[in-house]
Symmetry: C4
């Protein structure tokens, strides 16, 4: 809850580094908001370039343009990275933070492709694709708007339900292993007339587990599907189980969200014991009895 607590009165930035910090890392001022919007557009465009470059026909037709755009964005992000390093109070902490690593991964691959030795060993295509991780930088947009508190509420609801979700996932995974093994017994190990093994997609437990996950999550590609009556019966049973199981996590998060939403807490702080989190309809502190 402390994240949502009213911030202490912010002091004015004193020098150019603090000014820069405010613009780049915060979104309270007009310059800060503008910077975030420009950055977001640059990120989305640079990811679009990565995507287009992966399409063979576009790459061969507009290769030069995409190459130029790629270097433009890389240099832009490099300048931004350096400025972030300069204006942040503790640069090393930023470098090893989540966003610090993502910011570095956004620019590194392009430089590496320019080194023939690295590009040869790692594969230009491989390095190029890693740049798609750039999009992770877009998570910063939540900072921009009223979406921060919504994202926070969602995060809290999921966090509050984490133990229930862990229990649920354990049950699902155990069911996947058991049913996957059973299907391997029933459908796997077929041989054709010449005694050679037939590929059924249930030829090992891991492959059967892949099928079990595809089925239980109701994705159902159909690249692997049972062919024997016993296998079909077990598959049908598993689908019904998956159909019933899917409702459990839904209920969990809904109940947590309803709880979070229903707890109409007042923002009052008890003058007697400084306790927070009173119900909106409370007239007295529920911890010490002081009149609110």
């Amino acid at each position: 809850m402390s994240r949502l607590a009213p911030r202490p009165q912010r002091r004015e930035p004193q020098n150019w580094r603090e000014h820069l910090y405010e613009i780049i890392f915060e979104a309270d001022t007009r310059a800060g908001k503008l910077f975030d919007v420009v950055l977001l557009v640059a990120i989305l465009l640079s990811v679009a370039v990565v995507m287009l470059e992966s399409v063979r026909s576009i790459r061969s037709a507009h290769g030069g343009l995409l190459f130029a755009a790629e270097w433009f964005f890389t240099i832009l992000f490099t300048v931004e990275y350096v400025v972030r390093l300069i204006c942040v109070p503790r640069p090393l902490r930023y470098v090893f933070s989540f966003y610090g690593i993502v910011d570095l991964l956004a620019i590194l691959p392009t430089y590496l492709t320019a080194i023939p030795y690295v590009a040869g060993r790692a594969g230009t295509q491989r390095l190029a694709t890693i740049r798609a991780l750039r999009l992770l930088r877009a998570f910063r947009i939540f900072k921009l708007a009223h979406m921060l508190s919504e994202a926070e509420a969602l995060r809290q609801a999921i966090w509050a339900a984490r133990a229930k979700i862990a229990v649920f996932l354990s049950v699902v995974l155990i069911a996947v292993v058991i049913v996957g093994s059973a299907m391997h017994l029933i459908e796997g190990g077929k041989v054709d007339a010449d005694g050679r093994p037939v590929v059924t997609g249930f030829d090992s437990i891991p492959e059967s587990m892949y099928w079990a996950i595809v089925t239980m999550t109701t994705v159902g590609y159909g690249d692997v599907s049972p062919s024997t009556p016993a296998g079909k019966a077990l598959a049908a049973g598993m689908m019904m189980l998956g159909y019933c199981l899917i409702i459990v996590p839904t209920g969990i998060v809904t109940a947590e969200l309803t709880h979070v939403g229903a707890k109409k807490l007042s923002t009052q702080v008890c003058p007697g014991c400084m306790a927070e989190g009173h119900d909106a309809d409370a007239a007295f502190c529920k911890y010490c009895g002081t009149h609110l």
Copy 2:
């Protein structure tokens, strides 16, 4: 909420234009209701004609009949459009409103197919299909019945949850791009024995993203599916993520709807005991028996 507030006492229509307006645009009077029902039936029949016309065998067998029906409905809707223009107080505002544009799109294509030059350039089939947009006019039926307040309640719940839904969709789309890129790395870029590229459905990031959306929404066509062990493992992980992610929006709207539904209490305060939270249909306080 202002939309649901009781309307002020409606004054009687004064002349034929106001009478027509009442019949065509409102659904309070018997004539107005009848008009809406007849219009709805005409819309549904005309959309059925569009559908049947798109089936090759029916078109060749009953082409003349469908052609006649099409022109009958087009002329009917044209008359209706003109009448709407005449009786509405501000015609220009109607023309550029959502329903005004839909009403125009419902009649324009048929006239355009009669102009050889346009039909030749745009394609008769293309113009014919656009007429299916006619069905959008059917949204007016919500006006007819008690469905309006229900539709309004749903719209409000979704609107109230719009920021949460935006956060959710951002997370989903970022996951789609990241996983799509990873699958492109793992499954794409295969070559056969002769060194020619093999079509796997993961040959570019956009194609991989199409697969990622198909998988994450649990649709799972199976037209594209991973074939390598690493790809299958990543796909299985993504399915579990999608299985867990799908619960979040469900919870969001449910919590909002529960909130909207719970609000159906009257705002009256008991003059006897000052208790609140009476049912909207209560005439007496349920705690002390005082008349409300």
Copy 3:
């Protein structure tokens, strides 16, 4: 609500017809419960016979046994039908009730297959399959146990949400028609090198609508799937829409169920105005103010 109201003191059955009625139509006495259990087992077994008979290999191997079992159950159900007719106070009303028609459909097809003329025209296989409707009789089991009130609560929740569900289905169907038409435009009407039409599964609007329903409900067979980039983009958009739309009905019924569950109503009847449905915590009738 009247169904759940406490029944008036039941008077003892006076003669054999009332005794029979009590056994066959009710489930309060021991004989009545036993009858229902025996009937349920007979229904399930007879449906199993219908199923087994439809499997070619079993039919050719055990045809005689299945034929005998079929006639055994048909005669059993015929006797039951006649007894029901005898002991029910108003036979005609029973004959034309839902269960009366289902009871008749459960025995008629077997007799019809014995008439060569009918069997020849309608098809023995066709008549045999209709017998599966017998299973509808199993709905009577809800009468057996505490499941009646649960089934009633579910029915009420769905009934209470019927207008919201109608709005939801209208929106889904309109989306299906619009997107189906758009896909017909984008993917349909292909011709091969010789100018002959290629079957794509989008060759008419109804076929495209079938695809749209398969996609929107996240079933995703994959027997029809888009092949052009524009079609894939539209399909991806529709999946995201379906992914978001599916949450709405879930929320609707959940909110109604939560409401039904939370409305802890007392079974008290107001001595002043005979009104029912008071809150469990009400001390005074909320309609007339009488002390409860």
Copy 4:
């Protein structure tokens, strides 16, 4: 609820058997927790061995290593099983309990594969796969952490909704049988030009029911899908039904979970104003300030 009630003051273990019991069967002491963690790791590793052994290529490459690991885990689990038998107060009751049987099934297959006669009749591969049931032992991990109360809450919510779920599953299964039979009528029984039956996947009612379950649970493999217009229309109708039906169980469990979650109020009544419904952590009445 009695399971969650505070346990009576535990007495200190008196001898080595009670000490062993505490370590092996409970997770309150440090030694007990360590034992559980080590056991969990051993279970997961042994299941991984079973999985890897089922992959042909890994089996042929590292067969000896896997064989050794398998016997290592089997002997480890055998020792554990014997120690459990020794230290448990009533050994016979443990042997026939759920975990007792699972513990035995975890070690038996490996010994059986060593007996040539049994291995020859039952199949080594078959016996090897049964060992995957070992994973069921992992359910004991819920004992380890705060997950026990969460798992218990989930179990209670599902248990409370069991009658509603039974009603729901009955409706689904009856719909599956009816629609499956109808599809068998519509799509089945096709013959080709030579009069020989064509395999459509709807050739018997059980096969059609398999399709109906695959469709209704929105899995949608596509290995069986309708080909006639009537079949597609019925399939589309069933999908819409499944799309609407899936929301019902979701709502059921959510409503139950919300109920369970909402119950977290204390049962205390304020001595000052007799108000109820205080939070479990409240020390003072929130309406009048009296000490509770």
